[in-house]
């Protein structure tokens, strides 16, 4: 039988099953269940749990643990994620696989503790400095919190890159039936890069300061090549009734669930609505959206922000069809009915 747990707990279980060796964090609502649960669980399992002195320290500890090849993660909520950006940029530059979890709350600033989706730009467009990308996963259910946490480590190691899970206070705090259906990962491939002592082999070095002539330029070109490969291979999405839809809602995370209910309501009234849900926000499933941008179709980006993902939808659509917006931020939530009303306006 399925278990009733919070999204934040399911996320922990997914990470543990994937072989999480070390967790470093600092408390902030609405993600506190993560460090609270792991502080017990990781110790029971003989693994590492550290409550750091600050968010930035926690993120740098992740860097330090992950560079040895251990699976490592940190989690926080919006203001805390801002503080971690230095280490995230370093990890991207040093090509260190790790998981960073953002259970978004209302912003800007300290904001409030309600769920929100206003950190899309920060997650997808690079919250830290330098030309880098994170793979950004966007779960919309407790089950996906578990599964995406599990998958994130393989993805991170496959491409030697930090992965972010961008969830929100609602998905983190809600409980839903979940099936812990992934096998406990025990065997890990030998890595060619990690720093575990050079006895019997040539020394390795991983650094983000690359001062020699042309070295940083070359490094950036290599990174961009890697990002191209990820873009080609890893864009994930889900569609619902888009085939004959006149209005296609684009929504991720918690908004996508409300949008799906809105599609069902609209369909009951004979309105041809559909849903396109990116499961990866980077790489963004642009090609799949472009393929749906046929004459007569309109897009509606529904977000708990004042319009962030809509920019990527517009880039994907490339001016071929109209893209409109419906969203609220600061802890407010859009309802199914509001989406249906907006759809009706769009097809008038």
């Amino acid at each position: 039988m399925k278990k009733l747990v919070k999204g934040n707990i399911a996320l922990c279980e997914g990470a543990i099953a994937a072989g999480l060796k070390s967790y470093f964090g600092y408390p902030i609502t609405p993600q506190n269940e993560v460090p609270a649960y792991l502080s017990r669980k990781m110790v029971e399992l003989g693994r590492v749990f550290v409550q750091a002195e600050s968010e930035i320290a926690a993120a740098n500890m992740v860097l330090g643990a992950a560079v040895t090849g251990a699976r490592a993660m940190t989690s926080s909520s919006s203001p805390g994620i801002s503080l971690k950006q230095e280490a995230i940029s370093y990890m991207a530059g040093m090509q260190i696989p790790a998981l960073i979890v953002n259970i978004q709350r209302g912003g800007p600033g300290l904001g409030n503790i309600s769920g929100a989706q206003s950190d899309y730009f920060q997650a997808v467009k690079g919250g830290g400095h330098g030309d880098y990308r994170l793979i950004v996963l966007a779960p919309n259910s407790v089950q996906e919190m578990y599964e995406m946490a599990y998958d994130s480590f393989d993805l991170a190691e496959k491409y030697r890159t930090p992965v972010m899970i961008l969830a929100d206070g609602i998905v983190g705090q809600m409980m839903e039936p979940v099936e812990f259906n992934r096998p406990e990962k025990k065997d890990f491939e030998e890595k060619s890069w990690h720093l575990n002592g050079c006895k019997g082999r040539a020394p390795r070095s991983i650094q983000s300061l690359l001062m020699k002539d042309g070295v940083l330029e070359k490094h950036n070109i290599n990174l961009q090549e890697k990002y191209k490969t990820i873009s080609k291979n890893e864009a994930r999405f889900e569609t619902y009734k888009t085939d004959d839809a006149r209005v296609i809602i684009t929504a991720y995370g918690i908004s996508s669930r409300i949008a799906k209910s809105a599609v069902k309501l609209a369909r009951k009234e004979g309105i041809k609505a559909g849903l396109f849900r990116p499961k990866t926000l980077w790489p963004f499933p642009s090609e799949a959206i472009a393929a749906l941008a046929k004459p007569g179709v309109k897009f509606l980006s529904a977000e708990l922000s004042h319009g962030q993902m809509i920019e990527d939808v517009k880039l994907a659509v490339n001016g071929k069809v109209p893209v409109e917006f419906l969203g609220k931020a600061g802890g407010a939530i859009i309802t199914e009915q509001e989406i249906v009303i907006k759809i009706k306006e769009m097809i008038k």
Binding site: Q173, M175, E176, T335
Partner: protein, 211 residues
């Protein structure tokens, strides 16, 4: 069938646990369910609430946009949520501490859950689950009213044979049986509390039954 249930009261009255129990009962019946808490600044003595959605279909928002069932364990909660309830909602009001002689927009079912838990169950902490039992019976009565004589008879026979009401296609509502089963799960870490809480659910159920 879809129920969007709000459970509200003072912090410390067990509104989160009561919600968890309802969601677990839904799982026992193979129904879709979500649970969402008010979280953060609540403390003992303040107000707290949880929202449980139970549905035969996949659930969109875990927040209640059209709440149709409410457990109000104190008066501020009743006043806060009454205006949001849709017409025909089922409301269980704790008449131990909420006046029952006032005019309300939607007439609540008054159940003195604090008194029942204190005098009958001898454990005032179980008032939340007395209310859960009361809600289950009230929802059942409401559904049988809506589903006509035939389904009511079938329900009665299901009750007599302790059959699972969930088997009845037209009345996929939470059942007493699944709530009692959920009790075992919810208190699995404190087995000594299973029986007393089962008794509390049964007492609330029986109170509404004899109204």
């Amino acid at each position: 069938m879809k129920n969007e249930i709000i459970i509200a009261g003072f912090g410390g009255q067990g509104v989160l646990l009561a919600g968890t129990l309802l969601a677990q009962a839904a799982i026992e019946q193979g129904l879709h369910t979500t649970w969402f808490p008010s979280y953060g600044a609540e403390m003992r003595g303040g107000t707290a609430n949880s929202t449980v959605v139970v549905s035969v279909d996949e659930i969109g928002s875990p927040l209640a946009f059209n709440p149709n069932a409410l457990i109000a364990l104190n008066e501020p909660s009743l006043n806060k949520f009454m205006p949001r309830m849709i017409e025909g909602s089922i409301i269980i009001a704790n008449s131990s501490i909420i006046p029952s002689d006032k005019e309300y927009k939607i007439q609540p079912v008054f159940v003195p859950v604090t008194d029942i838990s204190d005098k009958e169950i001898k454990n005032v902490k179980t008032a939340n689950l007395v209310a859960v039992g009361a809600l289950i019976k009230a929802l059942e009565l409401y559904a049988s009213g809506n589903c006509g004589e035939d389904s009511h008879k079938r329900r009665q026979s299901a009750e007599e044979t302790e059959g699972d009401l969930c088997d009845l296609e037209d009345t996929k509502i939470l059942t007493l049986k699944s709530a009692l089963a959920a009790c075992e799960k919810a208190f699995s870490s404190k087995p000594e509390l299973v029986e007393v809480n089962k008794k509390a659910i049964q007492a609330g159920y029986d109170f509404v039954k004899q109204l």
